[in-house]
């Protein structure tokens, strides 16, 4: 906690020393941007924001902020949208990845056939596909969600695979030698044994989901955090607006906060589910 305050302190000092508000905006301004983004919602560059706008003429006022406010973008709104995409990606991608990982881990034969295909599939970053998918699906929500699902699934395969193969191997054998087969083997033996590895993979998949969602939004969406970060607005006018580092920093901090929260949640969940684990 103290270190957090120290971090803020160091930053404020650095910002003041550097005295380049267009690169390192002073802490107060970040605070103000935060407030503005929180919910003064739809205000066409007027009201309190207008005053701020005029006050900071010298660093070519926040076009980014204006655009965002014009569009009625709020921090929590954008965050909610991105979170929604992340959750969707997890909801669909996790089961897919787990299924594949378990299959490959449990059966040597399946592994021999599927692993090369998997290696090919995971070699291309999902976000690179996004332009290709657009040709098929146009500018639709599915077009943005598919890379997230894909990234999560691909990420989840390896930890599940290792859990099923390396960790669960001997337990599966012991269970088979006791006559266990089928669903009993899967749910009572394989899943619990691979569980710890899978939970580790989950935390990693979480990070990947966020990254892919934000990336997809930066490239191809008109809402959400990624959009906020690159200046809001329509796809066509993207990257033309002058960026406001205060807005960006607020956005990054918000993402970091949510990311940390989700990770902490996953950690707690993991600890509870694996109370039986040794040392």
């Amino acid at each position: 906690m103290i270190s957090l305050l120290a971090l803020i302190g160091v930053y404020t000092l650095a910002a003041r020393l550097l005295s380049r508000p267009d690169i390192l905006p002073p802490t107060e301004e970040i605070g103000r941007a935060f407030g503005a983004l929180l919910g003064r919602g739809v205000q066409l560059g007027g009201g309190g924001e207008g005053g701020e706008h005029a006050h900071h003429q010298h660093h070519s006022a926040s076009q980014q902020m204006d655009t965002l406010l014009q569009e009625g973008v709020t921090l929590q709104g954008a965050l909610a949208i991105t979170t929604g995409r992340v959750l969707f990606g997890l909801g669909v991608g996790l089961p897919l990845g787990i299924l594949l990982g378990l299959l490959m881990g449990a059966s040597r034969r399946a592994d021999d056939y599927l692993h090369p295909i998997y290696t090919v599939a995971r070699s291309v970053p999902p976000l690179a596909f996004i332009t290709y998918i657009m040709l098929w699906l146009g500018h639709s929500e599915a077009h943005r969600l598919i890379p997230i699902v894909y990234a999560v699934a691909v990420t989840m395969v390896i930890p599940t695979y290792h859990g099923a193969r390396d960790v669960a191997g001997k337990y599966v054998e012991a269970a088979r030698a006791l006559g266990a087969r089928g669903p009993l083997l899967l749910f009572q033996i394989l899943l619990p044994a691979a569980g710890p590895a899978m939970l580790g993979g989950l935390r990693y998949a979480l990070a990947i989901a966020w990254m892919t969602a934000v990336g997809a939004e930066m490239l191809m969406a008109e809402n959400g955090m990624g959009n906020l970060l690159v200046g809001g607005g329509m796809w066509s006018s993207r990257f033309q607006t002058r960026s406001d580092p205060a807005v960006i920093i607020v956005g990054i901090l918000a993402l970091a906060a949510v990311g940390w929260a989700m990770d902490a949640g996953a950690k707690v969940l993991g600890a509870r589910l694996t109370r039986w684990a040794r040392r």
Binding site: R176, A177, L178, G179, Q188, T274, A277
Partner: protein, 258 residues
Amino acid sequence: MTAGAPPPVLEAVDVGYGYSGPTPVQALDGLSLEVKDGEFVALLGPVGSGKTTLLRIFAGFLRPARGRVRCSGASVDGPGWQRGYVLQEEAVFPWMTVRGNLEFGLLAKGMGPDERRKVSDELLELIGLTAFADAHPKELSTGMSKMVEVARVLATDPSILLLDEPFGALDAHTRQRMQDALARLWAQRRKTVLFVTHDAEEALYLADRVVVLSPRPGRVKARFTVDLPRPRSFESRFSPEFLALKRQVWEATGLDAG
């Protein structure tokens, strides 16, 4: 085999098995072995003599590259509860309680909860862990969890037991106790046991016959019949016959270090 006699419960004829990899290893080569019904046979040999490999072939996890393996006259198709197998590694299920572990095989067989409880109560008493019935294996020492594994495999009452160095991690007293328990059980229920160990004394204490394997590749090097009277006790270890056998076995195994 003489015609008319029942087939040996476990039979391996000219079995070969190799492991590929950076240094390929011929684990077994031309190994032939028989275990008759109700016999207690110990497989003795140093590291690398393929004892575990042979056991796993009998258990149904590996298929011999050469030769054939039969169980009660039929070929071995895969693992099953009829051939109770205890691994060398620690394989007690850590996410289940001790009782859960013991009852697992019975669960797989479809036994009802009350019946299962009766059996698990008996077994808990046998291994002296009644107090730990609802504990998780992480609270047990390595030796105790191995005992749980042995008891777990006994729950389904298989007629064949394949044990891979089960008492290796136990201290001397516990080991003695478990060896006696195993011997008692074997005498009561007349199971056919194939027991892998690298400890000559343990082999002689428990078995009817001791088969000595040579390392890399595994072949039968010597066979000993252990005629010592049963039930054996701690005292038996000091009888002249025991010591004589022990010397013979040592000579058979020792001088040929791999």
